[in-house]
Symmetry: C2
Subunit: 166 residues, 2 copies
């Protein structure tokens, strides 16, 4: 899946990788789980990307670093990363769960092309504020929100236009 990005952030620095691993290790200790080489490999592979990865996509990347790591472990580790706020699930409504970096990352939303699946990220303070306002109004203790815009990107409109002429 293609990714068009608004911000062109550099890949994550070694210090941030160490910091992120520290967060994972601390979380593991806190909930009585154990450090493993698999979990570290999966975290490092995840940090190496800036995409919105499905479990399967991350699994394929992890396999290159250690072919013995199984799909189930990747699936379970992604849940762990979400637990300690290193990753968060993004809903593109294509029927599969996707994850992206969350640590040291500015909160943002996505506009998704329903033709090619590519996406752009955008920022909106209004949406953040709305969560607070509506939560207060109806006495919910809000935890998160989900906001996506769907449409057809310029490239796909051009392609489809050309196809129609033929």
């Amino acid at each position: 899946m293609l990714q068009k990005r608004i911000d062109d952030q550099p890949s994550i620095s070694p210090e941030m990788v160490r910091e992120a691993q520290g967060i994972l290790h601390q979380h593991l200790k806190k909930v009585g789980l154990k450090q493993t080489a698999q979990r570290d490999t999966i975290l490092r592979t995840f940090l190496d990307t800036r995409e919105h990865l499905s479990t399967d996509e991350l699994y394929r990347l992890v396999r290159k670093k250690d072919p013995k790591i199984g799909y189930t472990t990747v699936y379970r580790t992604l849940k762990l990363l979400a637990e300690c706020r290193l990753a968060s699930e993004v809903a593109f409504h294509d029927g599969i769960a996707r994850y992206e970096h969350q640590y040291n990352r500015r909160s943002h939303h996505h506009m998704v092309c329903t033709d090619c699946g590519s996406s752009v990220e955008f920022f909106s303070n209004e949406v953040e504020r709305l969560e607070q306002d509506i939560g207060r109004k109806y006495r919910y203790m809000t935890t998160r929100h989900s906001f996506q815009i769907y449409g057809v990107c310029e490239d796909c409109r051009k392609k489809n236009g050309a196809a129609r002429v033929v």
Copy 2:
């Protein structure tokens, strides 16, 4: 699933049922499909509710009116209703697709309790405007958006608070 409602609209009038059926029949003719008793029964059952129904929930209601109607027909008819804008899918992220009335209904969004699954509806012009703004900015032809707030409702907080004391 419980439904707390902001607006307390009366159940749909006979005129609106007729009107909605007209819209379905017109759509069927337009795309070369046929009128059937099953489709009419499913539409009427759907209009009788004001909930956010899963296919299975609607199927159970339809069965009471005509036990011979199968799950697959309900599933397919809900897609038809969405096609002709009588229904729309709502994403509560509980793993199943839900549908609600769309015809003559003000556009709105949902705040969902992650404990009990109940929801409140709210209105926001800002969100509608944001779809336009972001679409224009990144040259997407936008078709729709999806916005939900998640949290814990007051009732669930009370219950959990009580449980904690015990």
